[in-house]
Symmetry: C2
Subunit: 196 residues, 2 copies
Amino acid sequence: MARPKAFDEEAVLQKAVNLFWCRGYEATSVQDLVDCLGINRASLYDTYGDKYELYVKALERYRDTGQSGLCQNMDKSRPALDLLRDLFTEGIQNSLADPDQKGCFMVNSAVELAAHDETIGRIVADNQRAFEARLQQVIERGQQEGTINRVHSAASLATFLFNTYTGIKVLARTRPEPTALYGVMNIAMSALQPSS
Amino acid sequence: MARPKAFDEEAVLQKAVNLFWCRGYEATSVQDLVDCLGINRASLYDTYGDKYELYVKALERYRDTGQSGLCQNMDKSRPALDLLRDLFTEGIQNSLADPDQKGCFMVNSAVELAAHDETIGRIVADNQRAFEARLQQVIERGQQEGTINRVHSAASLATFLFNTYTGIKVLARTRPEPTALYGVMNIAMSALQPSS
DNA sequence: CTAATTCCGGAACGAACATTCTATATAGCG
DNA sequence: CGCTATATAGAATGTTCGTTCCGGAATTAG
């Protein structure tokens, strides 16, 4: 009946993710989006709604594509500590490999918008909870294995690791030095070990 | 010779600190500043320069007034661990007492602007280095006292604590819960203890 | 073919933006 | 008082903002 879309909706949305991720919400103009996405202004509004809706969709896509460090494969056969270390290592490697030093889109959104916008605040908070719950599962397994201390609860340790991850993602924006980032990870991991 | 200023330059600048701190750079308009500062548009430009210069002055004032957690009194008679714990406790208390959940102006600036603006990037990076150097001094003293482990270098531990502090200041924006924030602090402090 | 839908470039819109300017009032000093 | 400098309020500037609309080209289904 009609002419089909000439662009891949998801691929274009991913471009929006990268632009918002890099510049933030306020500093990104619709003109910037038109130039970067490579589609027409009208197509942008028809497909994604207005600028704000597009941002929300971009943030949701970022979350759903596992770029928020969440969608890690949690192989139960591997030691819990190794799993956690891998998660941090991957996050640090991604930060160091990024020439734009974008950090984490979730963290950036948390700082710029979450306190003032209810919708984005909920997305960010939900993602935080999901991330921590995932961490808590692994930590609990490690405590059963005896490789993680029981001095602190699994929930507290999960919040601590999440906090460390967040800090690294901020630090990576201004000081993307391997020694600093991996050093932070190593000390955080050592805090998990038993007999402290 | 001339009519004197009818407003306190520093007091008005502090109002600008609070507004930029709360909303960020891009989301704050000059009209917002005029309304909040209570001075005339022309007086604003004559006294502080344009919006960007005002932001830089506000960030520098934030730094110089010790609101960035840096100007803590470092009493050498107190145990090093207590000093560090006080610093975190004060930072957490400030965050919890703030109804606007503004977090830390330095951290917010780091996320929003430091990667794209050289001047602000330098202010933020310098502040980070100064903060870490201060932490390192205290940590070295604790290591000499034997209350802080020597498994990790004082510099690495300082970066770790700074990272934890940063994470807390982000977490406080979206989840200002005492249990979460103090829990993170406690685990971070436990990572400093010897014989791990 | 026709009809329907989406593409695209670009014009047009009012609102908000940062910045500058005009005009007038006011304070200190000779 | 008279002079000077800076205060004030608010208009006016030109630009950019987000958003909508138009016209024609393109593509698919019937």
